[in-house]
């Protein structure tokens, strides 16, 4: 056989044209059926900010806590073990005041008389112990009083795709949250759990997601992280939704390319003129955050100011104090994956809004120390303290789990619960 390449190609092309040209319906339908239960992969890391904690990791961490509580080692020394990220020890430029010594910590004290609702996320299991199988798709919001009474789930099954990142309104009557789907939406629901209503922060925009909603001090607006996916370079920007008008403005100066990082956890100043938020850098190919800093955006869009980081530490997940004088933050973003597995040990700091007065208020922080928030009276800081929420004074003293152990563990296995907010009962 002697054929030149052109003839061979021509003949092969004729041959390759023949054959099936229609996909069998069964293959297409099977794929579509599978897609119904298949989550999308996202670079945004919006819905999955905490990985499931494996039981062996829990066991190791529990041992560390026991050792800490027993006072066998200094808290600071324990906190530095296994650290691979930025050093949590602040440098001289922002040398904090000393954190409380272990002897000042009183994990058993509790705050059983504190009034109001604690609103919190809970993943994997129902914290009332009615489920025993860990479900990765279970993302719910629960409420409980500080004395452990009144534990119940907020609007179970509504929306069906789950809830996360709640904030409670200043008057304590409503809760705003984001759905747990990849295309996150915002919802508002009365605190009694009656029908949630979907907010429309994107209003007509395609490829839009919304995350981390937080009420303005007067409750009329919600600041959130608006993710715009439709452009060739997806971005995140701080948005402000007017609840009465259903209109959204964006603070353009806060915008960041998602290829570089993301925004998180906005929090209003009590006078409603500024919003502090975290800008977290993370390359698309890197599973871990490489940097996190706090910025203060002026709501009129005129400027943003960067707050200094504690030397060698990140700054994330800030909350503005009710009197406006202080911002509390953690050195570990709550969305950082691998928490407890080589990530920096979280510590809690405070800083004045003008960037001065960086103070480390606790080191190690009951092996928790993420997602700190002020109580409405400004007298305490609540934070995720490894097994449950904990409270401490603004200077870091009297750190204790809330009503331990009644609110801890929630059954035989821990589902994540964090981002708690305390408000007086309406």
């Amino acid at each position: 056989m002697t054929l030149d390449d052109r003839s061979l190609e021509r003949a092969a092309r004729t041959w390759i044209e023949a054959g099936p040209t229609q996909a069998p319906d069964r293959a297409v339908e099977a794929a579509l059926l599978q897609i119904q239960t298949t989550p999308q992969e996202r670079d945004l890391r919006i819905p999955w900010r905490f990985p499931p904690m494996f039981s062996n990791r829990l066991t190791i961490a529990a041992v560390v806590v026991v050792v800490l509580v027993a006072g066998l080692f200094g808290v600071t020394k324990l906190a530095s073990v296994g650290q691979t990220g930025p050093s949590p020890t602040p440098g001289s430029s922002v040398l904090p005041t000393a954190a409380p010594s272990p002897s000042e910590l009183n994990p058993a004290a509790g705050y059983p008389t504190l009034q109001g609702w604690i609103v919190f996320e809970h993943f994997g299991l129902k914290p009332d112990g009615t489920t025993t199988t860990f479900d990765d798709n279970y993302h719910a919001i629960w409420l409980v009083h500080a004395d452990g009474s009144g534990l119940h789930e907020l609007a179970p099954g509504k929306p069906a795709d789950g809830k996360q990142s709640p904030d409670i309104s200043p008057d304590g009557t409503k809760i705003v949250f984001m759905s747990s789907t990849d295309a996150s939406h915002l919802y508002e629901v009365p605190i009694d759990g009656t029908e949630p209503r979907e907010l429309s922060p994107c209003k007509g925009a395609s490829g839009c997601a919304a995350a981390d909603p937080t009420y303005s001090p007067d409750g009329s607006r919600v600041a959130f992280v608006l993710v715009e996916l439709s452009s060739k370079s997806p971005t995140a920007v701080i948005g402000i939704l007017d609840l009465a008008r259903s209109t959204t403005i964006v603070l353009e100066r806060t915008r960041i390319d998602l290829a570089l990082g993301d925004l998180a956890q906005p929090s209003w100043s009590p006078d409603g003129t500024r919003i502090v938020y975290a800008r977290e850098l993370q390359k698309q190919t890197d599973p871990h955050i490489t940097d996190s800093r706090l910025f203060v955006a002026h709501v009129d869009g005129s400027a943003i100011d960067e707050l200094p980081q504690p030397e060698g530490a990140w700054a994330a997940d800030a909350d503005w104090s009710p009197d406006g004088s202080t911002i509390v933050f953690s050195s570990l973003p709550n969305r950082e994956t691998g928490w407890g597995a080589g990530a920096p040990t979280p510590h809690i700091y405070t800083i004045k809004p003008d960037g001065t007065g960086v103070t480390q208020v606790c080191a190690g922080c009951l092996q928790g120390g993420v997602d700190p928030t002020w109580t409405p009276d400004g007298k305490h800081i609540m934070f995720w303290g490894f097994r449950s929420w904990a409270l401490m004074n603004p200077d870091g003293s009297q750190a204790a789990h809330i009503n331990q152990p009644k609110l801890t563990w929630f059954g035989s296995r821990l589902g994540y619960g964090y981002a708690a907010f305390l408000q007086p009962t309406p």
Binding site: I16, P20, Q22, S206, G207, L229
Partner: protein, 183 residues
């Protein structure tokens, strides 16, 4: 393909993605069939590719490149499917047992069995480039971009695909002699 549908699918809209699936599945299946030469494997590759496309579509940077992007996913699904199938089948070397063709074989080359056997002897990578070039009609530069390989690699794969076909289709005595069987 509707850009709006792609945006909605990227934002997690399953109904929008279903519409996209119906728009591209015939083309994807046809390509998979021609690369894998097995309808059942092609079905599996199509299904896997569609599910993977759903999972990854939020990471699609350029919606205008959706079709190229989904074809890339399909080609890799074909690779995977072929590997999986290989685990369950014994390796069978197909010999040109029918003897030589006539000297001017353009007509005979249209014989499907002969070309089928020859094509199956190509590597999956060579088949993919051949199908994308001669069936889908993509230029080599686009194929290189689609498969994320250097343009030279795409060119050489097509060259070796043609050479492979020629080798498999050449007269039997010549073939066996080259392999040392008649030496």
């Amino acid at each position: 393909v509707d850009r709006l549908l792609i945006d909605r699918a990227r934002a997690g809209d399953r109904e929008a993605f279903a519409v996209l699936v119906h728009q591209v599945s015939d083309s994807l299946y046809a390509v998979a069939c021609r690369i894998l030469r097995d309808p059942e494997l092609a079905e599996d590759a199509l299904q896997n590719a569609l599910v993977l496309a759903w999972r990854r579509i939020p990471k699609l940077r350029d919606p205008d490149r959706f079709e190229a992007w989904v074809h890339r996913i399909l080609v890799h699904a074909c690779y995977d499917e072929s590997q999986r199938a290989r685990q369950w089948t014994t390796t069978v070397r197909i010999l040109p047992i029918d003897g030589p063709s006539t000297p001017d074989g353009s007509t005979e080359l249209a014989d499907r069995d002969e070309l089928e056997r020859a094509f199956r002897q190509l590597t999956l990578e060579q088949r993919a480039v051949f199908v994308l070039h001669h069936y889908v009609g993509l230029p080599l530069v686009e194929i290189a971009e689609l498969l994320e390989i250097p343009a030279g690699t795409a060119r050489s794969r097509l060259h070796y695909a043609i050479a492979g076909l020629r080798h498999a289709l050449r007269p039997l005595p010549d073939a066996l002699a080259q392999e040392g069987r008649l030496a």
